[in-house]
């Protein structure tokens, strides 16, 4: 176990190193001098020179990389030049928001997608199937941006049931927090639900024709038990993998949805930073996300190792 852990850890260090070079390198490909955009409207040459100095822009690329990496290794991701706040603080401020939004969205997606997929498979070629397919097609083809604005107009402006945008911390007021998050979570979940529904449907169709399902039926089990216990369980594996992938994508930020609902999450943080050329924020956020992914992967590998005796050799 220990050896395995050490082995995995040994592969992580070069991976992270490579990732850091990639993040730093790609960032340099962004056109536009960050000092010029950060200097604002006035374009005062003194300010531009000062910012260039602060960002080490006049130094060679490898030197700048070492400056940055040196900070990262000490846990210092630098500071946002635009609002003068440490990048790590910004990340920790936005992370819970994004985790909550992603979790709510995935729950909504599962709650809609899986039952709809089952119904559509079990009632294949009936009105139920067509209806579920139409809903899925709608979910897939509706742009998040448009759906978000429509929901705001209906539930906030017309009915006045939900806040139009903004974020309230759950620690401050849980009810207000859920009210603020439900619409963006639905917008995100809706699109994923459609994908999950399609996958559940095709997996269920395949499974329901399998021999063991026929056997289960022959045993005289009620159809509900056949579908849920023998069909769904086996059909769920690819769906869960897909759901997990979608969840991962949501965690790196849902830019448009966060913009429409003014949810201060990861997506909004990074997109604003890119447009304002707030380099250290972009680098910090991407580095943080990459590290988290790699760390989660390690945890998953360790879990496999513990669960699957064959891996232990």
């Amino acid at each position: 176990m220990f050896n395995y852990f050490v082995q995995r850890l040994a592969t992580i260090i070069p991976t992270l190193f490579f990732v850091s070079i990639l993040i730093f390198g790609l960032q340099q490909l962004l056109p536009g001098d960050p000092a010029i955009i950060l200097a604002g409207e006035d374009q005062d040459p003194n300010v531009i020179a000062y910012l260039r100095g602060k960002l080490h822009l006049d130094e060679p690329l490898p030197v700048r990389y070492v400056y940055w990496l040196g900070g990262v290794l000490q846990g210092d991701l630098g500071e946002s030049l635009r609002i003068q706040k440490p990048v790590l603080e910004l990340i920790l401020e936005k992370l819970p928001v994004t985790i909550q939004l992603a979790s709510m969205a995935i729950v909504i997606a599962l709650a809609i997608g899986i039952p709809a997929g089952i119904v559509s498979a079990v009632k294949k070629d009936t009105a139920w199937d067509y209806a579920a397919n139409i809903v899925a097609l709608w979910g897939l083809s509706t742009p998040n941006f448009w759906l978000g604005i429509m929901l705001i107009l209906l539930f906030s402006v017309q009915l006045g049931w939900l806040p139009a945008s903004g974020y309230v911390s759950p620690a401050e007021d849980l009810g207000a927090n859920l009210a603020a998050m439900i619409m963006p979570a639905f917008v995100l979940g809706n699109a994923i639900a459609a994908v999950l529904m399609r996958h559940t449907r095709s997996a269920m169709l395949q499974v329901m024709n399998a021999d063991y399902v026929r056997t289960a039926r022959a045993k005289g089990l009620v159809e509900r038990v056949v579908i849920l216990r023998h069909g769904l369980r086996n059909a769920l594996t690819p769906v869960i993998t897909l759901g997990a992938l979608e969840f991962g994508t949501l965690l790196s930020g849902a830019v448009l949805t966060e913009q429409v609902f003014t949810i201060p999450g990861f997506g909004k943080l990074i997109i604003d930073a890119v447009f304002n050329r707030d380099y250290l924020v972009v680098q910090g956020v991407v580095m943080f996300t990459a590290t988290t992914y790699i760390a989660l992967n390690l945890v998953a590998d360790m879990a496999y190792f513990l669960v699957n005796p064959r891996l232990r050799g």
């Binding site: 056109p31 001098d33 010029i36 200097a39 374009q43 609002i83 003068q84 906030s156 139009a164 003014t262």
Partner: protein, 503 residues
């Protein structure tokens, strides 16, 4: 029972005694998230909107752009116009309880002038020395007379922060600004909100009717308006022109507008780089004239801004006292444009118009392209992300560039840096000793009539050489709940909180 009644009476008496006004919060929707909240380092327009409640300035502007007192009560120019004596308001405190006096003003002006990264250094460069005359009087010595100085002091250069807090926080001051405005800083969550609360010791507290202000950045104008209509905001700045009819038709909302002090225009590379010589537009003023004559500014205003702007051809709007009437907005004249091209010996000229990706700029580019085509000028649109476009402009890698300027109270702030040889924003590359001399003259004269005459000469040259083709001046569009009263519309686009109240 009796004791309960007594208790009720006591409670009622307490309510009366404390005024019993419910805590009122004003919620303002901003178009962007501001940058650093340090007046010395701040660089954005939207930051100034927030400063309006946090940091008082030595002087302020009124609705007609007159300079009026704020932290200063009076001023007097020295005999040679090379010094300015400023009298300060007595009894003003900073949010940390420190006194605002002449020493504090000197500290602030010196901070603006010397702090690394200061964005105020350029504006205050003519100030050579700051002297404390007495606790409520400061004297600013200037290298030469400088007419825009008072206007400069109505903006961030005139904002005073607590010296004690500034010393303690260093370059982190913007994280928790301490000024002397009607509201003090409470918290900021990046991209989410900025909260300020009433400052009990504000010198003009009788004009403040809110306990808190929450600034909420919401980039999409439509979403900003939806929040207002849903009752989550009380006020939104920079409404989209296309949303004006929907605000007008809603009797719960009100609309205010005022012509900005800035402009929208097209900068032409006339000498910034070799590209200028390679293109007839940059090379020949007659081609630029032909291009301008192909444009119908009123139609541009209609199509791009749905009529919510004023067509213009100078760095100040035609409503300004400094607008030069000797150079009126030219009417569209396609025949004359074609004749000019023939005269210049240019057939089917073509140039690339670099355009930031904002929807206004894109629309301008498309309308301009269609109009210029009628005169036989081929405009190729090059949509470029804003940061990249600024960089290309700075390097002179463009032929023409659509660029807006948010404007400054004194006309000099809209002119000097764009049109003089060493101007920081001189993307056109236009540079003549005559222009530098005229601009310098307009800055050093304190007589408005004399300045106006100089501006007429400048307008004549700019109108002939056309390093910049000014198009229009947008309306600041504000939408707010009809319960909100006391709003002042000052052309600088700042939301002044003094006098604002919910009825």
């Amino acid at each position: 029972m009796k004791s309960f009644r007594l208790w009720l009476l006591a409670a009622a008496a307490m309510l009366v005694a404390t005024g019993a006004a419910p805590a009122q919060t004003l919620r303002i929707g901003l178009a962007e998230d501001p940058d650093i909240l340090d007046p010395t380092l701040a660089r954005t327009f939207v930051g100034r909107v927030v400063f309006a409640s946090l940091c008082d300035k030595l002087f302020d502007l009124d609705e007609n752009l007159n300079i009026v007192p704020q932290l200063a009560t009076a001023y007097e120019w020295g005999g040679d116009k090379k010094s300015l004596l400023i009298k300060l308001r007595p009894g003003v405190l900073f949010h940390d309880g420190e006194k605002l006096d002449a020493v504090a003003v000197k500290y602030n002006l010196e901070r603006h002038k010397t702090m690394p990264g200061s964005n105020r250094r350029g504006e205050l460069s003519p100030v050579t020395n700051i002297e404390v005359v007495d606790p409520l009087t400061v004297k600013l010595d200037l290298a030469a007379p400088f007419a825009p100085l008072l206007a400069v002091l109505t903006d961030r250069s005139g904002m005073m922060v607590s010296p004690k807090a500034a010393e303690a926080a260093g370059d982190k001051f913007g994280a928790k600004p301490i000024c002397s405005g009607p509201f003090k800083f409470v918290e900021r969550v990046a991209q989410d909100r900025i909260v300020v609360e009433r400052f009990a010791d504000y010198w003009n507290k009788q004009d403040i009717h809110f306990d808190r202000i929450v600034y909420v950045p919401i980039p999409y104008a439509t979403v900003r308006l939806a929040n207002l209509r849903a009752g989550q905001l009380d006020f939104v700045e920079r409404l989209a022109a296309s949303d004006v009819p929907s605000v007008r038709s809603d009797n719960r909302l009100k609309l205010s507008k005022i012509v900005e002090i800035g402009y929208q225009g097209i900068t032409i590379n006339v000498a910034k780089s070799d590209l200028a010589k390679g293109n007839p537009l940059g090379r020949d003023a007659r081609v630029r004239e032909a291009f301008e004559l192909s444009l119908d500014r009123d139609a541009i205003v209609q199509v791009v801004m749905e009529g919510e702007a004023q067509a213009g051809n100078q760095w100040v709007p035609p409503t300004s006292a400094f607008y030069s009437k000797n150079v009126p907005v030219p009417k569209r004249d396609v025949a004359r444009a074609k004749a000019l091209l023939r005269e210049a010996g240019v057939t089917n000229p073509s140039f690339t118009l670099m355009t930031p990706t904002s929807s206004d700029a894109q629309k301008i580019a498309q309308v301009v392209q269609a109009m210029a085509k009628d005169a036989g000028i081929d405009v190729k649109i090059q949509a470029t992300e804003f940061a990249t476009s600024l960089n290309l402009a700075d390097k002179g890698q463009f032929e023409a560039y659509i660029l807006a300027w948010s404007g400054r109270a004194d006309p000099d702030g809209n002119l000097q840096q764009f049109i003089t040889c060493k101007g920081a924003n001189n993307y056109s590359g236009f540079c003549t000793p005559e222009m530098d001399d005229l601009v310098n003259r307009s800055r050093t004269s304190l007589d408005p009539a004399e300045r106006k005459k100089t501006y007429e000469q400048i307008a004549a040259i700019v109108g002939k050489e056309r390093p910049l083709v000014y198009l229009y001046h947008r309306n600041w569009l504000w939408a707010y709940t009809s319960k909100l009263g006391g709003l002042r519309t000052v052309p600088d686009g700042m939301v002044r909180v003094q006098g604002l109240k919910l009825n």
